[in-house]
Amino acid sequence: MQIPDVKSEWDNEISTVKIGATEKEGGTRSANISVGGETTLPFLHFEGSTPHRPVLAMEVWDIPPDSWPPVAREQIEGVMEDPVEWAQKCEEEFEPDLVCLKLKGCDPFGQDKSPEEAAKLVEKVIEATSIPLIVWGCGDDDKDNEVFTLVSPAAAGENCLLGTITEDNYRTLAALSKADGHKIVAESPVDINMAKQVNTLALDIGFELENLVIFPNSPALGYGIEYVYSIMERTRLAGLKGDRLMAQPILANIGGEVWGTKEAKIPEEEKPEWGDHRKRGPMWEATTAFTYLQSGADIVVMRHPESIKATKLMIERLMEGRGE
């Protein structure tokens, strides 16, 4: 019986973004990683290529993560006071593809650490690790601009991924990244048109879209995940169909979202009907990652070693179908 052919052919390829620079490339990373380059939807190896598997980044903070629930925090017991040791432990024990250093301590309404302190820390983390690095600001526009003004040159040549630019605040970070050879995360608030708008703004000031990843925000499983699932799916479809403003790799930053949910946090003693929270927390984070990976995410930023391990394994399994 002749079955109709339902392979889809797409006009365009998602751009490839390389993060990290080896010694040869002017940096100090032991290897770089590439994301993107897909010519089809996630893991559909029978009709197109997925040259690079999605990658996972693990969060490291510049201050002790007091807001993390115990199940996430106890994994980094003993190192969370020292971000350099923490980053080192991450790389050596938990084996993520990247470290995502979050400069939470720079928040003017928190510890208000100075840009100098942040830049020094970035230098130390670079020295202590060998995998590519994401550096994420505290979220306060003015402060982030001051901080990146020192952090970006301090990491010059390392080809880091810096985040984030938004509709309201993109000039400084885009200019710095261009000058110091970094990539940037373009953030938009659960709105596909806004995602396109941020990319347009970056392009308008001369930032190449090939050096950028899209971050449409990424709520946790059960808290609006379906909106972003569809936004990522529509973004990827638009990119494959030829919209150059939507043809970038996609990032999901799920750690903070997941570990704020009741499902990840509430202990079994308080909620016996939800089962073992020591497994449920990491499972919630992993399932959130599984979901975004099926809608087009290329980079997922996470917290718990067990969920990273499980997500990595699922990616490996899904990539096995390549070339069959």
Partner: protein, 447 residues
């Protein structure tokens, strides 16, 4: 062939509003036909010419199959799109927990009891597993039949009864066919007998096959015997193989209207690893399974899969709302801040999450805006100083606190004065996005 609109279809219908199709009017029936949710056969009065004109457009691209009956029946299939944003996903996959016949009876009963417990409540909805899959691998037919009867006695859930031996299936059906279980799997060898049983006991049938050609070939032969309600159960050995096969079947059904594979699909997990089992289940729910069988009764594994299903099957065309009322987040007291927002689900839960995350307690007074977010509500003229003040007053937040400050979203800063005038409170303009709220509260509230 282009899809016809409800109006085009209505023109071809008798327009008598007789109700014999179980819809109140011909127009209502036409609308269901247009969205491919019913078959034209439901109308007993349709003319031959009309049938011809509508046949290509009227057939649902994927059949709807019902398992079980009464309160616990599960309707699956009838999907019309590959991506949920194109329309919506219609029928959440039925999730069945596997029970094998090799276990001793006490352990088996205990497992069934545990399956019965796999019901949860999330964001105001009941979610739970829907079925029990009884698999025959060890017991002879008559004993298997007894065992199925026993499972049926201790659970209300509809059954999926699987055996390669039609005799086992018949013994089971003699006991439980009233419950309209899903039976199978029919394969290249046993399909005639399986089809007979499906016909005789009026139960839907799963059809297994290696590869799409074998599957299509089998469904064609079985449908010739008169069996219409089938579920495809492709033999897949790996996760990427499942993804490819289920993607192809979905595309064939909804894009090519390829009727030999226009049936719902059943998938099961392929990994024994505890986390990978959930990975398999999540992938199948996202990518095109209509029935999912899982071999676990662990709540921490089931709950995330049920939650993926709950959210991915939300209709993207409908704004999702939370109840408009006063919410207490954390443990608020007289000194706690009072926040105002609209009842778009994502807006509310983002706000609630940020308050909790920041370690704050607060009252959140939520206005009914038909599930629109703050900016959309404003653009849609649903927010006025008067309306907001009335909501705040009715819900009584200000009676619970010893201050007169109310925080409104930064996106509607322009309403500050009018709320202040209507309500006689001090109105503070909060941040534009929930994520900046903890910083705002630390700065504006705690100082």
């Amino acid at each position: 062939m282009a899809d016809l609109s409800a109006m085009d279809i209505y023109q071809e219908l008798p327009q008598t509003d007789c109700g014999d199709c179980n819809f109140p009017t011909c127009m209502a029936f036409a609308m269901q036909l247009a969205s491919k949710q019913v078959s034209l056969d439901e109308c007993p009065h349709v003319t031959e010419e009309a049938e011809e004109a509508l046949s290509a457009s009227s057939a649902p691209p994927m059949r709807i199959v019902t398992v079980g009956n009464g309160n616990s029946e599960v309707e699956v299939g009838g999907e019309t799109v590959q991506f949920r944003h194109e329309e919506k996903f219609y029928r959440p996959p039925g999730i069945g927990i596997t029970v094998r016949d090799g276990r001793d009876r006490d352990r088996l009963n205990e497992r069934v009891e545990r399956v019965n417990q796999l019901q949860f409540e999330r964001v105001g909805e009941e979610i739970g597993v829907d079925m029990i899959t009884v698999e025959n691998s060890q017991l002879p037919p008559s004993e298997f039949g007894e065992l199925v009867a026993e499972v049926n006695d201790i659970s209300e859930l509809p059954l999926i009864i699987l055996s390669s031996d039609p005799e086992s299936i018949e013994h089971a059906l003699k006991e439980v066919s009233d419950g309209r279980p899903l039976i199978g799997k029919a394969n290249g060898e046993n399909w005639r007998k399986m089809a007979e049983l499906s016909e005789k006991y009026e139960c839907p049938l799963t059809v297994a096959g290696e590869g799409l050609e074998e599957l299509a070939d089998l469904t064609e032969r079985i449908s010739e015997t008169g069996v219409e309600e089938m579920i495809l159960a492709p033999d897949c050995e790996s996760l990427p193989n499942y993804l490819q096969t289920l993607t192809e079947i979905r595309r064939l059904a909804v894009k090519e209207k390829y009727s030999p594979l226009g049936y719902p699909v059943m998938a099961s997990t392929v990994s024994d690893d505890l986390f990978q089992l959930v990975a398999d289940g999540t992938n199948h729910v996202l990518k095109f399974a209509s029935i999912l069988t899982l071999d676990t009764v662990k709540k921490w594994q089931i709950l995330p899969i049920l939650t993926v299903r709950q959210h991915i099957y939300i209709d993207p065309q409908v704004q999702n709302s939370v109840e408009a009322k006063l919410y207490e987040v954390g443990d608020p007291g007289p000194d706690s801040p009072v926040l105002f927002t609209t009842n778009f689900q994502l807006t509310y839960y983002s706000l609630e999450g940020e308050v909790e995350d920041g370690g704050f307690s607060a009252y959140i007074t939520v206005m009914d805006t038909d599930g629109l977010g703050v900016l959309n509500s404003y653009a849609d003229d649903r927010l006025s100083g008067e309306g907001i003040a009335e909501t705040i007053r009715e819900q009584g937040a200000m009676d619970l606190v010893n201050h007169d400050k109310i925080i409104i979203p930064g996106l509607v800063a322009m309403l500050r004065i009018s709320i202040q005038e209507e309500g006689d409170w001090e109105v503070l303009v909060g941040p534009e996005d929930a994520a900046s709220l903890p910083r705002f509260l630390r700065k504006e509230w705690e100082e």
